[in-house]
C-alpha cells in the first residue's frame, strides 16, 4: 500500500497503475483541479506542487513537477497543493502578494508560481532576486513578462510568511513518521504490474531479480516522459528514492561518494564546496523542480548524450560503484557509456554510488551552451579538468556532452594539450584536434558546425578565465 498525505488527508492507494502521475491523480482521481497541465513533460511548471518529507525529524519542503512525478514515490510524504494554502478565506501571503502586484494575467500558470513561491518562503525568508529567479526558473509565464511576479516575490523578503501550515508541521511530521513505521509493504499494483518502494540495497537487488522486466525509477524526470509522451505502460517500477545506501553521502580526504539516488539539490552544497564550477552548472540544469527530483545516478544510467553531469564526471575521473546479482564492483565512468543510450550496466544491476576523486592540483572549468540560459538542454556542455606545472599542462580531461552519441572525452584534444602551455597559442592544436574527436550532428538545438566551433572557443574561454587578473566579465551570466 502506498500511503501519503494529500494536504491534511491521508490517502492509501493499493490498486493503481504504477505509471499514474501525481497530476493525473490530482486532476482525475482526487478531482482537485487547481494544479494545471501545461506540458506534461516537466518543462512549464504549471503543475508545480510541494512535497514535504521528514528529514532529521523535521519537514523538508521541495517543489516538484507533478506531471512527471509518479504517485507511488509519494509514499510517506505530504503532498501540498494550491487548494491548501488559503486558510479560512484568507489568502496565503504569497497569494496576496501576487494579487497586489498584478502577478497574474490569464492565470493558468499561476497556481504553479504560487507553489514555487510558497516553497521558496518556507525555506528562506530573505531571498535575493537571484534566488527568486532560481526558484521560479521552471515556471513559465506567457503573459506577464515576469516583472510583477519578481516584484511579488521580493515584496515579501524579510517580512516572514506566517501561515497556519507552519503550526501544523510537528503534527504532520509525526503522522508521516508513523506512516513509514507501519509494517506494510510499500507498493501498489495493477494486475501483474507493480510499483515497489524498497528501503535497502539488498531489497532492491532482490526485487530486481524477482522482476526481471522491472524498470528503476528515481526522480523520473526523463523516464516519466515515456509515460506522458510515449504513453507507455511500463511493467514493474522500482522506486530508488528510499533506498538507504543509495541516498547516502560519504566524504573522505581523497574522495566524495554520492549515493546514486541523491537528487541534484541534495548534492549541490557539497559540490559547491569542492567544485564550485560544477555547482554553477547544476544551477542551470533543468529547473529547481527538476533538480529536486532528478538524480546523479539517473543522469548517468540513462546515458543520454545531452545529460549535463556526465561530461563533468568524465572530466573528474569519477568511479561508479555498481551492484548486480554477480556482486559489487567499480568502473571508471569513462568506460561506462558504450553507445547511444547504451551502457555497461549489468542485467538486474544498478548504480549504488558515484565516487569523485578530490584532486586539488587540477583546475575544473565547466560550461553549458543553450539557446535559453535557464531550464534548457545543452547544445554543448563542456568540462575541462586541467593540471598545470609551471604553466604547462600535465594532465587534461575534456568531457563533452552534445558532441557525440554518448557523453564523451576528447582524447585527441587531451593529448594535444599535454606538455603545452595553457595559453591561447598552447591550445591551438587541441582546438584543431576536437574536429578529430567529434563530428557533432545538426539537430533542433544547434548545427554540428556551431557545436564544434563553440567547443573550440570554450577551450579559449578556459584559458582566458585562468589568466584574468582584473576579473573582467567573460560570460554574459557573469556580466549581468
Amino acid at each position: 500500500m502506498i500511503r501519503f498525505l494529500l494536504n491534511d488527508r491521508e490517502v492509501c492507494l493499493e490498486n493503481s497503475a504504477p505509471e499514474m502521475t501525481v497530476l493525473e491523480y490530482l486532476r482525475t482521481k482526487a478531482e482537485q483541479r487547481g494544479s494545471k497541465e501545461g506540458c506534461a513533460s516537466g518543462d512549464c511548471g504549471a503543475c508545480t506542487v510541494v512535497v514535504a518529507e521528514v528529514v532529521k525529524q523535521r519537514l523538508r519542503y521541495r517543489t516538484l513537477n507533478s506531471c512527471i512525478t509518479l504517485v507511488g514515490s509519494l509514499h510517506g510524504k505530504q503532498l501540498l497543493t494550491v487548494e491548501h494554502l488559503q486558510q479560512h478565506d484568507a489568502l496565503h501571503p504569497v497569494q496576496q502578494a501576487m494579487v497586489d502586484q498584478h502577478g497574474s494575467q490569464c492565470g493558468f500558470c499561476t497556481p504553479g508560481f504560487i507553489m514555487s513561491l510558497f516553497c521558496l518562503y518556507r525555506n528562506d525568508h530573505q531571498p535575493t532576486r537571484a534566488e527568486v529567479e532560481r526558484a521560479l526558473a521552471g515556471n513559465l509565464c506567457r503573459c506577464t513578462g515576469y516583472r510583477p511576479i519578481i516584484d511579488a516575490a521580493l515584496s515579501l523578503a524579510g517580512q516572514g510568511v506566517a501561515d497556519a501550515l507552519a503550526q501544523q508541521e510537528a503534527a504532520v511530521a509525526t503522522r508521516l513518521t508513523d506512516m513509514l513505521q507501519q509494517p506494510i509493504s510499500a507498493s501498489m499494483q495493477a494486475g501483474q504490474r507493480h510499483f515497489l518502494v524498497p528501503t535497502s540495497s539488498d531489497e532492491l537487488l532482490a526485487q530486481l531479480t524477482a522482476h526481471p522486466k522491472a524498470q528503476l525509477v528515481a526522480g523520473g524526470t526523463d523516464f516519466s516522459l515515456t509515460i506522458t509522451q510515449q504513453l507507455q505502460q511500463p511493467d514493474t517500477l522500482i522506486y530508488t528514492g528510499r533506498v538507504a545506501e543509495l541516498t547516502q553521502i560519504e566524504e573522505s580526504e581523497q574522495w566524495l561518494k554520492l549515493g546514486a539516488a541523491l537528487s541534484y539539490t541534495d548534492v549541490e552544497p557539497l559540490l559547491q564546496q569542492h567544485f564550485p564550477s560544477f555547482a554553477r552548472l547544476l544551477e542551470r540544469l533543468g529547473s529547481l523542480q527538476v533538480r529536486n527530483q532528478g538524480t546523479l545516478g539517473g543522469n548517468i544510467a540513462n546515458a543520454s548524450p545531452i545529460g549535463d553531469t556526465p561530461p563533468v564526471l568524465l572530466a573528474l575521473d569519477a568511479i561508479l560503484h555498481l551492484r548486480s546479482p554477480a556482486g559489487r564492483h567499480t568502473m571508471p565512468i569513462a568506460e561506462f557509456f558504450t553507445g547511444y543510450r547504451q551502457t555497461k550496466l549489468p542485467t538486474s544491476g544498478f548504480i549504488e554510488a558515484i565516487e569523485i576523486p578530490l584532486q586539488p592540483e587540477r583546475q575544473l572549468y565547466v560550461y553549458k551552451i543553450s539557446k535559453r540560459l535557464d531550464d534548457d538542454i545543452s547544445a554543448v556542455c563542456a568540462a575541462f579538468s586541467i593540471e598545470l606545472k609551471d604553466g604547462v599542462v600535465q594532465q587534461a580531461r575534456l568531457g563533452f556532452g552534445g558532441m557525440a552519441a554518448t557523453p564523451a572525452r576528447a582524447f585527441h584534444a587531451e593529448q594535444a594539450l599535454l606538455g603545452q602551455p595553457f595559453s591561447e597559442q598552447g591550445i591551438e592544436a587541441a582546438q584543431q584536434a576536437l574536429a578529430q574527436d567529434f563530428s557533432p550532428i545538426d539537430d533542433v538545438r544547434a548545427s554540428g558546425a556551431y557545436r564544434l566551433q563553440v567547443a573550440q572557443n570554450l577551450l579559449l574561454r578556459a584559458v582566458l578565465e585562468q589568466d584574468n587578473p582584473t576579473a573582467e566579465a567573460l560570460e554574459v551570466v557573469q556580466y549581468a
Partner: protein, 786 residues
C-alpha cells in the same frame, strides 16, 4: 417577486472606476486555483474523451486506413472520420481550404485524419497509436522562396504605392538592398486547445470552448452539424492565454467534439496534449522580406521598394489580412516618400499559419527597422538619428503608403522624452568606449519606435454588442462579445460600466461570454477588445441610466436634468434628495421600467478601398518606443538583455496596472520571438520543435534587471472609450529594439562599419555566425583600404 428588499447603501466612495490600477477581476481565483478553465469543469456523467489521429507526412495521399485496432483498443467507444460529418466539412475561417478531417489528400504534417473517443483521455490517446495508415508521399514545398518563385500562393498578391518608387530610387544619392528571413512563433498559450461539448435539445449543443471567437465556433459547429445557428450556444469564461492562436484555430476541436456528441449521444471533451497542439495548430507566419531603399547623405529616405512574403502554410486561414497588415506596417513610423510595397501569400506544406499578436505587423516592421540600422551604418550616424530624421512629420511628410494621413503624431516627442529619460546618449558613448577594450563581451544599444494601426482591417468586424441586467437588489450582470484571455478585458469593462453608472465596481458581475447573450460577435483580436466592447457596454449602461433617470424625474416630479448619478447614489431635485443605486433599481422595477438593455458600437471614420489600396483603415495609431541594451559573448553567441526602458502611448489609461502588464508581457513575448523561440521543421516537413523542451519561450531570468515602463501621458484625441488607446498588440513590437541592439553589439566588432545581417530568431548560433561574418567583412574592408 413580491418580497423585495433592496440591499443597504453601497460604499459612498466609488473606487476602481476608470483610470485606477484595479486588480484583475479573477486575480484571487487565479492565485487560489479556483479560476475554472474548460478542462477544470467537472464533466457531466458519461463524458467521453477524444484524441486526434494526424498525418505523419507533409504531402501526399492516404492509400489505406485500417482503424480496427483503434476500435478494439481498451475503453474505445467510437471513431470519427470525415465521412461521418453530416454538414460542411471545410471549416476554413474566411476562404475555405481547411478540411475538418481528411481521408484523401495530405497537405501538412499534423493534418487531422480521425478522432477517437474513449472512456478516459489516456485510453483515447493510446488508441490513436494503434492506427495503421498508409500514405503515398509527395515532395513537400517547405521553402518560402521556392513557393514565391513558383508563385504558389494561397491568395492573390496585393500591392500598394504612393508616388513613383522606381524613379525616386534611380535618382537617390545612395541606395541599399537587402533581404531577411523573419521566423515564425508558437503561441505557447499555457492552456492548450480544448473543447467540451454537451448535448442539448432539438439537435442543439452547449459548447465550452477555449476560443477568442465564440461566434465563429458557433457558426462552424452549426455548419458541421447542419443545424441552424440558434441551436448552438458557445460559452467561454476564460482562456489560459490566446495570443491569436485561439482566434480561428480553436474551432476545429469544438467541431470534432460536436460531431462526436452527435454520433455517440454523450458529452465529449477534446483537449490537445502539448505536442499535438504544437504539431496541429498554426503559428505566427514566418516571413521573407526584401527592401531596395534610396536615401541621401544624411540618411533621409527618398524612395523605397519593399516586398513582404508570408509563409502561410497550406491554406489561407487569415493570411490575406495578415499579409495586408504586414504591408500596412512595412513603413512602421517612417515617411518613405515614393514607395511601393508588394505583399505575397506563399503556400507551403506546413500547418496553416494564423493570427498571433500583431497579426503580421511585426514581420512587416522588421524590414524597415533593418533598413534604418543599415542606412545609419552607411552614412556613419547613430541609428537613432536616422530613425528620428525619417519619422512622419507635418509639412507633406504625413501620408502613408496606403494614403492615410498620420494625424495626432506624437512619436518625435515621445522618442525624445524616452531618449532623455533613458540617458541614451551617455550610455551610447560609454558602451562604445567599453566595447573597445572588452576582451570577450560586447554590448549593444538601440531605440526603436512603434506606430501601430488600430482597427480590424476587415471593416465589418469593427462592431460590438453588450447586454446589461440590473437586478432589483442593485447588483448588475454585464455580458459582452469580448473574451477574457488574461488581458484584463473584463476588469476594464467593469470599470467602464462602474464609471458610467457611478457605482462601486463590486456591484458588477461579469459572466462568461456566451453566444446566447450577445450574438454575432467579432473575435477578441486586433487589440480591439476594450475599444469595441467597452463602448458597447458603456452604451448599454447609458441606456439604463437614462431609463432610471427618466423614471425618477417622472415620479419625483423633478426635471430630468436634475437627476444625477454619483458615488453609488441617485440624486434628484434641488434639495439634495437621494437614494442608493440599489433603491433606485428597485424603484425603477416597481415603476415598471425595463432594467435590461443591450448596447452596440461601431467604429466611425474608417474605410479602405482595397482595389485602389487607399483609404483610412485605422481609426487611430498607438505609439511607443523602447531602448534595449544587450551584452553578447563573442565566443559562443550567447547574450543577455541587460536593460529596457519603454515609453508607451495608451491614451488615457483605463487601468495603468493592466496596461503595464500588457506592455511588459508583450515586450517579453516579442523578445522571445526574436531571440530564443526557434521553430524547426526537418527536410520532410515534420516539426521538430514540438514541445517546451525544444521550443524555448523566455523564462524568468530573461526578464531584464532594469525594466522600466512608463505611460506616455496623453489622452487619445479620437473619441474612444474614455479616450483610451488599444494596448494588446502594439507593445509586442517594442522588442525589435532587442534585435537591433544585438546587431549594434555585433557591428561594434567592425567599429560600426559593417551592418550585419541577422535573421531571426537571433539564436546564439545566428549571433555567433553574424559576428564571425562581421569580423571577416571588416577585415576585407580594411584590406581594401577603406
Amino acid at each position: 417577486m413580491r418580497n423585495l428588499k433592496a440591499k443597504g447603501s453601497p460604499a459612498s466612495q466609488v473606487a476602481g472606476t476608470t483610470g485606477v490600477a484595479r486588480v484583475h477581476e479573477s486575480a484571487t481565483k487565479h492565485v487560489s486555483g479556483t479560476a475554472i478553465y474548460v478542462d477544470d469543469m467537472l464533466e457531466p456523467r458519461g463524458t467521453l474523451y477524444g484524441a486526434v489521429g494526424y498525418s505523419s507526412i507533409a504531402k501526399g495521399r492516404i492509400t489505406g486506413m485500417d482503424l480496427s485496432a483503434v476500435r478494439q483498443s481498451e475503453g474505445v467507444v467510437d471513431i470519427l472520420v470525415v465521412e461521418d460529418i453530416p454538414g460542411v466539412t471545410d471549416i476554413g475561417a474566411v476562404f475555405g481550404g481547411d478540411p475538418i478531417l481528411t481521408s484523401e489528400e495530405i497537405k501538412y504534417q499534423g493534418q487531422p485524419i480521425f478522432v477517437v473517443v474513449a472512456e478516459t483521455e489516456q485510453q483515447a490517446r493510446r488508441a490513436v497509436k494503434q492506427a495503421k495508415i498508409e500514405f503515398v508521399e509527395d515532395v513537400p514545398t517547405l521553402d518560402v522562396i521556392e513557393a514565391l518563385t513558383a508563385q504558389q500562393f494561397v491568395r492573390p498578391s496585393h500591392f500598394m504605392s504612393h508616388g513613383d518608387a522606381q524613379a525616386a530610387l534611380a535618382k537617390a544619392p545612395k541606395r541599399l538592398q537587402a533581404e531577411q528571413h523573419v521566423g515564425g512563433q508558437e503561441h505557447f498559450y499555457l492552456e492548450g486547445q480544448v473543447a467540451l461539448v454537451v448535448p442539448a435539445e432539438d439537435g442543439g449543443m452547449l459548447v465550452y470552448s477555449s476560443t477568442q471567437h465564440p461566434s465563429e465556433v458557433q457558426k462552424l459547429v452549426a455548419e458541421v452539424l447542419s443545424v441552424p445557428a440558434n441551436r448552438i450556444t458557445v460559452d467561454m469564461r476564460r482562456m489560459g492565454g490566446g495570443f491569436g492562436g485561439k482566434e480561428s484555430q480553436a474551432a476545429g476541436w469544438a467541431c470534432m467534439a460536436a460531431a462526436l456528441v452527435l454520433k455517440t449521444g454523450k458529452p465529449v471533451k477534446l483537449r490537445l496534449p502539448r505536442v499535438d497542439d504544437m504539431t496541429m495548430t498554426g503559428k505566427r507566419h514566418p516571413f521573407y522580406n526584401t527592401y531596395d531603399i534610396g536615401f541621401d547623405e544624411q540618411g533621409l529616405i527618398q524612395g523605397a521598394d519593399i516586398m513582404v512574403a508570408g509563409n502561410c502554410g497550406h491554406s489561407a486561414d487569415l493570411s490575406d489580412a495578415i499579409v495586408d497588415r504586414a504591408m500596412f506596417h512595412a513603413d512602421n513610423a517612417y515617411y518613405l516618400a515614393d514607395v511601393s510595397i508588394a505583399g505575397h501569400r506563399c503556400r507551403t506544406n506546413t500547418v496553416s499559419h494564423t493570427a498571433f499578436r500583431g497579426f503580421g505587423g511585426p514581420q512587416g516592421m522588421m524590414i524597415i527597422e533593418r533598413a534604418m540600422d543599415d542606412i545609419a551604418r552607411a552614412v556613419g550616424k547613430d541609428p537613432l538619428d536616422v530613425r528620428k530624421l525619417n519619422l512622419y512629420s507635418a509639412g507633406g511628410r504625413d501620408t502613408t503608403p496606403y494614403h492615410q494621413t498620420v494625424e495626432h503624431n506624437v512619436l518625435l516627442e515621445l522618442i525624445e522624452q524616452l531618449e532623455q529619460n533613458s540617458d541614451y546618449r551617455a550610455r551610447r558613448a560609454e558602451i562604445t568606449q567599453w566595447n573597445k577594450t572588452s576582451r570577450v563581451l560586447q554590448r549593444g544599444l538601440a531605440l526603436t519606435p512603434v506606430k501601430f494601426g488600430i482597427s480590424f482591417t476587415l471593416q465589418h468586424l469593427n462592431q460590438a454588442g453588450a447586454l446589461i441586467h440590473i437586478y432589483t437588489d442593485g447588483s448588475i450582470q454585464v455580458n459582452h462579445g469580448g473574451t477574457e484571455m488574461g488581458q484584463g478585458l473584463h476588469t476594464k469593462i467593469i470599470q467602464i460600466v462602474a464609471e458610467a453608472l457611478a457605482i462601486d465596481p463590486h456591484e458588477i458581475q461579469i459572466t462568461a461570454t456566451r453566444t446566447d447573450k450577445v450574438p454575432n460577435t467579432s473575435p477578441t483580436a486586433a487589440s480591439s477588445g476594450t475599444d469595441l466592447n467597452g463602448q458597447a457596454a458603456r452604451n448599454a449602461a447609458l441606456t439604463l441610466k437614462q431609463r432610471i433617470a427618466e423614471c425618477v424625474a417622472e415620479h419625483k416630479a423633478c426635471g430630468r436634468d436634475s437627476v444625477r448619478f454619483a458615488d453609488g447614489r441617485i440624486y434628484w431635485g434641488d434639495q439634495g434628495e437621494s437614494m442608493s443605486f440599489a433603491d433606485g433599481a428597485l424603484f425603477a422595477y416597481e415603476n415598471r421600467v425595463s432594467l435590461s438593455a443591450t448596447g452596440y458600437y461601431k467604429t466611425p471614420k474608417i474605410w479602405y478601398d482595397r482595389e485602389q489600396a487607399k483609404g483610412r483603415p485605422f481609426f487611430y495609431f498607438a505609439n511607443g518606443a523602447a531602448v534595449s541594451e544587450v551584452v553578447v559573448d563573442t565566443l559562443t553567441g550567447e547574450y543577455k538583455v541587460l536593460a529596457v526602458d519603454i515609453l508607451h502611448d495608451v491614451g488615457r489609461s483605463l487601468n495603468p496596472a493592466l496596461d503595464c502588464g500588457q506592455i511588459e508581457g508583450g515586450f517579453i513575448q516579442g523578445m522571445g520571438w526574436l531571440t530564443t523561440e526557434e521553430l524547426k521543421w526537418n527536410d520532410k516537413g515534420v516539426l521538430l520543435s514540438n514541445g517546451p523542451a525544444t521550443y524555448k519561450i523566455p523564462a524568468i531570468s530573461d526578464t531584464p534587471k532594469r525594466f522600466k515602463v512608463d505611460l506616455f501621458a496623453r489622452a487619445n484625441e479620437e473619441d474612444t472609450v474614455y479616450h483610451s488607446k488599444a494596448v494588446g498588440e502594439p507593445p509586442f513590437m517594442l522588442a525589435i529594439s532587442v534585435w537591433s541592439a544585438l546587431r549594434d553589439a555585433i557591428s561594434s566588432l567592425s567599429n560600426y562599419q559593417v551592418s550585419p545581417p541577422l535573421d531571426t530568431p537571433a539564436t546564439p548560433e545566428r549571433v555567433l555566425n553574424a559576428m564571425m561574418a562581421t569580423r571577416e567583412q571588416a577585415a576585407e574592408q580594411k584590406g581594401k583600404g577603406r
